[in-house]
Symmetry: C2
Subunit: 294 residues, 2 copies
DNA sequence: CTACAGCTATAACCGATAGCTATGGACGTC
DNA sequence: GACGTCCATAGCTATCGGTTATAGCTGTAG
């Protein structure tokens, strides 16, 4: 009875929300996709898991019987992954990053740990996962742009850099020559967005909070820096990015300009709050925290 | 860190066999498919699970750490599926079948149990799984053609019918008018075969044991009766089938003829040897066993 | 030392799957 | 009775898991 753990997560989410719509939101998938997958799971099991009634969804007896086992399986797998990783050679640490971090942040620290014989494996994860692998247990720590869902609860964050947000424009854009632009001027521009599964991060880089309720125009979605700059360079849209990243990715066909009227962005090192390994704590301690915002 | 339980089975199989080739055989998939899936799993985890050396495959420390957890997860899930099914209403039984069983075998018995208020859900499973869902815990009992892997060990079988094997031919075939043919005459015919994942069942219906080592010519593979008869009717090959099934599926473009020189085939009711539910025992007891072979 | 045999990895291809958007249909609510 | 909410269906596309064919490595036999 092979099953995809993803489908079990889906089932658990619906069981907890008792609503397909809300569960779909939580899972960052569309409601039909969720509906279909759950139906497929029911078909595979040979019995329904939910009773879909007028204004409510309820677990069937079979669903109720399955739920705890599903939770256990998911937790068990997550734990097993973590245990397997730490079974590797001596002091080894898996560190996730979403984009090139640069800024000489990690170079020195990583170098120092490598010299001491630690095995630091950097894992470039794409933007589908705003925790860069932390949530699923894939990494021990990650460089993330805030906001990261779970920080303050099961995750701890240490802000390393606080920067203004700039906008990347195609070289021929009418703002390309400006010394800076006001965010209000950009509201009608088509934006290049992160994938919807990136959750709050997508909203943050669309500047949703600063739009005063006006829907952003999403030109297209991109899930890697290359794709983003390709799209911007081709004139398909503009995109917000951190000042440091604007310098980190110089391209002839893209121009970056500071934006007024936006909260700054924060790059943080994130790790699990219940992390027990001394190595992780030591790694985190090796970074200097950015001074609090002005 | 979503994962497909199938991939965990694959990992466990390789870990047990310490050979991709043998594990692939055991899993009834091709060796490259297995290789690829395991590599993908390793990539997802971010560390290798096996050391591939000259003439041997060995678990890495991480692989060794993961193995017991994986075994446990698979066992736990299988058990959970079974528990969920039995959490359904009162006396309910999931029964698998691979083809229409017919022969008035189940009609009377199923009817009797239904009248007593039991909920018998028949599940038509395809030939990919020779245990018709028993192995994965998807059903409580199944009508299967022998041989079924596991019978005698974790599965118990009760032979219900023993029949001669016939051959289905396209209507225009040179043997179509015969009263019977000798299997030796069929050795060079292209055969319609079950999918390779059907395991020993595929061999049985190709008559491999009676070919004296000569490789069968497989015209094409089919995974449902409709496909098989479509293929035979179209002249793409011939196929062995049970005498009873030859009568069960009358088609104008297909002719069936008895075959000499083949062991008979056996249709059995199969259930788990460690089955604890009274309902299953009672269900099994309701069928008459076929007299032992002559 | 060359040829062969056994084993894993790669390539090219193909059908099934999981995702999306748009839309339909059922049922409370106002 | 119109509307809003929520789940299901339809139609489409990209990715994935499978296949066969073949390459590459390595120990063994002649």
């Amino acid at each position: 009875m092979d099953v995809h753990v993803r489908d079990l997560r889906y089932f658990a989410a619906v069981a907890e929300e008792l609503s397909f719509t809300r569960a779909a939101e939580r899972l960052h998938v569309s409601q039909p996709a969720l509906s279909k997958q759950v139906r497929a799971l029911e078909r595979q099991l040979g019995h329904p898991l939910f009773e879909r009634r007028a204004r409510s969804v309820a677990l069937t007896p079979q669903g109720a019987a399955l739920l705890p086992a599903v939770r256990e399986l998911i937790a068990g797998w997550t734990e097993a992954v973590r245990a397997a990783r730490t079974a590797g050679p001596a002091e080894s640490l898996a560190v996730g990053m979403q984009t090139a971090v640069g800024r000489d942040l990690q170079r020195e620290v990583l170098g120092r740990f490598r010299e001491r014989g630690w095995l630091i494996s950097l894992r470039l994860v794409n933007w589908e996962d705003p925790t860069a692998g932390l949530a699923g247990g894939g990494v021990d720590a990650a460089f993330c742009w805030l906001p990261v869902p779970g920080v303050g609860a099961e995750l701890t964050a240490k802000v390393l850099v606080r920067e203004d947000r700039w906008v990347a424009l195609p070289a021929g854009h009418r703002f390309a020559g400006r010394a800076e632009v006001d965010f209000a001027e950009l509201l009608d521009e088509p934006f290049v967005a992160l994938p919807r599964s990136a959750g709050p991060l997508r909203e943050f880089w669309l500047g949703t909070a600063e739009r005063g309720g006006r829907e952003p125009v999403v030109g297209l979605e991109a899930s890697s820096p290359e794709e983003v700059f390709e799209a911007v360079g081709a004139g398909l849209g503009v995109v917000l990015l951190a000042e440091g990243n604007a310098r980190l990715y110089p391209r002839p066909d893209v121009v970056s300009v500071p934006v007024r009227g936006l909260a700054p962005c924060e790059l943080a090192l994130v790790w699990r709050a219940d992390e027990g390994r001394r190595a992780v704590a030591e790694f985190a301690a090796a970074f200097r925290e950015a001074p609090p915002a002005a």
